[in-house]
Symmetry: D2
Subunit: 339 residues, 4 copies
């Protein structure tokens, strides 16, 4: 199998660590470089790597990456920083999968509204492909720049896509109540994520103003062919990883459970990472995997409840990034993703 030489930008955070874990088992990948402002051994940053990968992180230098034969780069930089580093890579012909939020929102005005700063790379934004393979799968193979989807949006979008695409639900009725493990908040120490603060506790945050909201709405609007607005409430759960989203919607006409299940089965046919579950999933069922589990339940009063579960670091970030990579470089979609 041919080896694609890749680089990882920003090696110190959780998504980079998870990405390395996946790429180490990818038979078609050679890790050429890992960049970081911390000039440290990558195994000192991620001790699980001792004995597997012990090399120094290097400063970001686009020409050096070209010289090392890098064909693809995964950016694990924070938003804002990502759109500074990516343009010089694209210019040099390196294809990029960006795990930050920088290229997810097509409309720069929406970006500025939610991220409180103007977008700095309008030229590339225009050509970025939103990398949710189950929805935009046919656009991924040719993409030069993938905007890897957010962790929460995947659970919301994939839980709703068939119903929205088919207009089986009232598009003004959507409520997404999400519960996430703490790794979703990143690796920078903050009081909110200090163990004795968030352990043994659950809380809501970003009520009505979380930045993943416009991302969910953009894709659902694409699917509906009209503007969709949602209510989205994220919660912090005392666990390392996992997202469970409980989604509520009002159907436009009575739907039976078997109709629902048939709709989803048909919509997600032959997509290897979507699992339709007969019982409500626990996030633990998806831990360390790229699966996204979906459970469907009509309830009293004619409402629908949809529960989705994923691992926020794998399916929600680094796993789907490799899924995109596989589609971009012609590998089987599940390569390195069924460990």
């Amino acid at each position: 199998m041919r080896k694609v030489r890749i680089a990882i930008l920003g090696g110190s955070g959780y998504t980079a660590g998870e990405l390395l874990k996946i790429l180490l088992r990818h038979p078609g990948v050679e890790i050429a470089a890992i960049t970081s402002r911390q000039k440290e051994s990558i195994a000192d940053l991620h001790p699980f790597l001792y004995g597997r990968l012990e090399r120094m992180c290097e400063p970001f230098d686009p020409d050096a990456l070209v010289a090392q034969g890098v064909e693809a780069a995964f950016s694990c930089l924070p938003h804002g920083a990502s759109m500074e580093s990516i343009p010089p890579l694209l210019e040099r012909g390196i294809r990029v999968i960006d795990l930050s939020a920088d290229y997810r929102l097509r409309d720069p005005a929406v970006y500025e509204q939610w991220y409180k700063e103007p977008h700095h790379d309008l030229r590339n934004l225009e050509h970025a492909v939103y990398g949710l393979p189950e929805i935009y799968g046919d656009r991924i193979p040719q993409a030069r720049l993938i905007a890897n989807p957010g962790c929460y949006p995947q659970t919301a979008i994939l839980g709703l896509a068939p119903l929205v695409a088919e207009r089986w639900i009232d598009l003004t009725s959507i409520i997404i109540d999400s519960k996430s493990g703490v790794s979703g908040g990143g690796r920078t120490p903050k009081l909110t994520f200090h163990f004795p603060e968030c352990n043994e506790s659950v809380s809501a945050y970003g009520i009505g103003v979380h930045r993943h909201t416009p991302e969910i709405e953009q894709v659902l609007s694409d699917l509906a062919g009209q503007s969709v607005t949602v209510v989205f409430t994220p919660h912090l759960i005392p666990m390392d990883r996992g997202i469970l989203s409980t989604i509520y919607a009002v159907p436009t006409r009575p739907i039976t459970l078997s109709q629902l299940q048939e709709l989803y089965r048909s919509y997600y046919r032959e997509l290897p990472f979507i699992r339709l579950r007969q019982q409500p999933p626990a996030t633990k069922d998806t831990a360390h995997s790229n699966f996204l589990d979906i459970f469907l339940q009509p309830v009293r009063g004619g409402r629908l409840v949809i529960v989705t579960a994923e691992d926020n670091l794998v399916r929600g970030a680094s796993g789907v990034a490799v899924q995109n990579f596989n589609r971009m470089f012609g590998f089987a979609e599940t390569t390195a993703l069924l460990p």
Copy 2:
């Protein structure tokens, strides 16, 4: 201060342990008896009690309780068992606070529908008072039998009461998404609550069919003066204690944040255990206390989001039981409840 001699029925579970912790600091209570099928020292059942309370549990015997001068009994028995043990106590003039679900639903047909067995004590059911002091406070002092409210229902009812009573929301739009610590599932070992199963995981359960649903609907219907139906989804969170409920509703007319806050402030005036919070509460803020915290937030699309938090074992069970006891026996409402 005069001492009321009390008994606890069913001493081995979490609510009994929590109740003992509270009653040990109550200056107006003398613990006369603790019953249990397990003929054990209460401190062996609840090791935190060593050095505080070391006495044997005794078999349930109503006449013995009378002989011991018991005036009030707290039943910590499971539902079904509670309505077997309570009638002989009431007959003997002992007032009862029942922490089980047996006397919460006024309509025995509703009880049978949700609990899958007929109600066995219709005579006392008729006179039972639903012991939510913030709603039915004036009926509690005279009550002979208090149906202590469920843990989830309190977070739902108290989060919605002002809006429902004032009809500021569409009564068909209510969604309650609740997250509970594991102690809410009781102390009997089950695979679901086995540490390596529920730790590091979150899941929904009882979707659309949880038994606390009719309890919520009964009180909201009382407040509305018409039948109210809700969507209620409980979730299991990897923590010992705490419930957070995120509640969604559609207002019948535009409401500002300050109108909302004024409505709640006025509705809960002089009720010592309701805290209106300016930031979303964490369940940890309420841990080991009898407070119920409420946060109000109008969001995009004209929806309302209400977040409530409590300690499921204190406010959700044993604390509110003592709050009811205080009202029944003329103690200040906060006695033993501000530790």
Copy 3:
């Protein structure tokens, strides 16, 4: 009951929060002032206080404290800062209980060796009393300055005191293996205490060099009447609070379990917070209490294993501080400490 007006220095950390919780139920205490560099409401710093105590923290000003009639101050400042703030209070006649390590080590050279900075207040150091009531109880009532003991040292010292005082063990054989919840590391965010780092993990730290070692050795040497050296290894456990210490020693002659138990029972007679347990304690048995539990077990090969458990924030810090306060000001020893 007369009220002692007290001040708390450094209100933002965990020990201050715990102290406030205890003092709010102390009938002989009036909280006159809370100092902090963060000019914030104390309830914003510790949200569980909403509805109980909502006042602003104030800058540290010794004269203002005198003007407010403060008789006693609890210093919750970090070591180093404590010995800067305490001298002006003592000069003004305010008695001080210092929860930091600054006055625990009698020998300033030992302080400098372990804390890597010279001691700045030798004059008061000389008169400080090590505030472990079960060992130095008779010196506490007259003390002007109490060095409140460390969390780990209490579990080690109280687990060993009878054996060391009676010379039943080889004084060179002592090994103390301690396990602590994360709150022991304080409230300042650090990567070590970032939830996804320390959750689901256990690790040893400070092996052979932890600063609580000389504190343990100082008291054991007092008890033995000769110099005692110990091996002490602390570990970080993914839980909020609690310390379990497993202590190993070689007896100087064969000892039976009943001899052991009799020795400890006699040594700790009439001390209300020491519980001799018949089964190995779990830290949870002591959570939120001032109890220190001790379990004794001779094992194969003639060794002794002693297990001790405490709540590191209560017994290990703020609870024992109030126990000291009670002895200093003539309150019953258990006042406010059996909630």
Copy 4:
């Protein structure tokens, strides 16, 4: 690569689940059968398997296994049950890796002393090989029956082997203080492992009497060439998986850190799963891997402290089982074990 057809006996527990996860990525394995008394789909028992492996468990039938071409069986049955099921397999030429304790102790009298029942299969016990590849590696390729080592013993033995083999320590001085995640207690619900009991708590158990003690002593005695007795204390830690062992020993002569490290480096040369760490390991560094990490530290008073860490389900059970399988069937030692 040729495929070895294997069977798993007792598919419902944690070690079976972990084994399936590993074997699914083993290119030389075909899972022919999974037995269980619960006639259920294996994915219903282990929901993470949905989409990977969905087949029914079958009753145990040795002839059926032969008919299915099974060459090797992994027994995940509890001790006692294992030695009932294994003899008929060995008779039929199926090689067995037993994850229970049944064939670990060579002396049946020792088995009976610690397990409180006589051994029932003395004939096969005689030929069983203790499957710790780093110690008995050359005996594994020919073995018909492997006694897979216990989780705790591996951390103790591999932490001590070089020192014991070289007699650098006093063999009467060994103390092993181990901390384990809850999955080590198995999957059967018990009050001890009920979430609200063991969460937020740490406790010691089996002090001086844990069944892994004779297993540790047997191997250390082999290495020393004389009888070795140890003090071993296991503790229950509120986390899913991981064991950290802190080991104390008295050297027979002064040893420097570099001498220690050189000894271990040399002893474990070319063994792919032993990592000598320069910093104390966290169990999380080894999570989901087959690595066993070792940290060495001479401390004050001339003692040695050795810290070892592993994943109790992988390295401590199912991973080392596959490591043994690889040696038995001629696969590279790390096959399927570096995911």
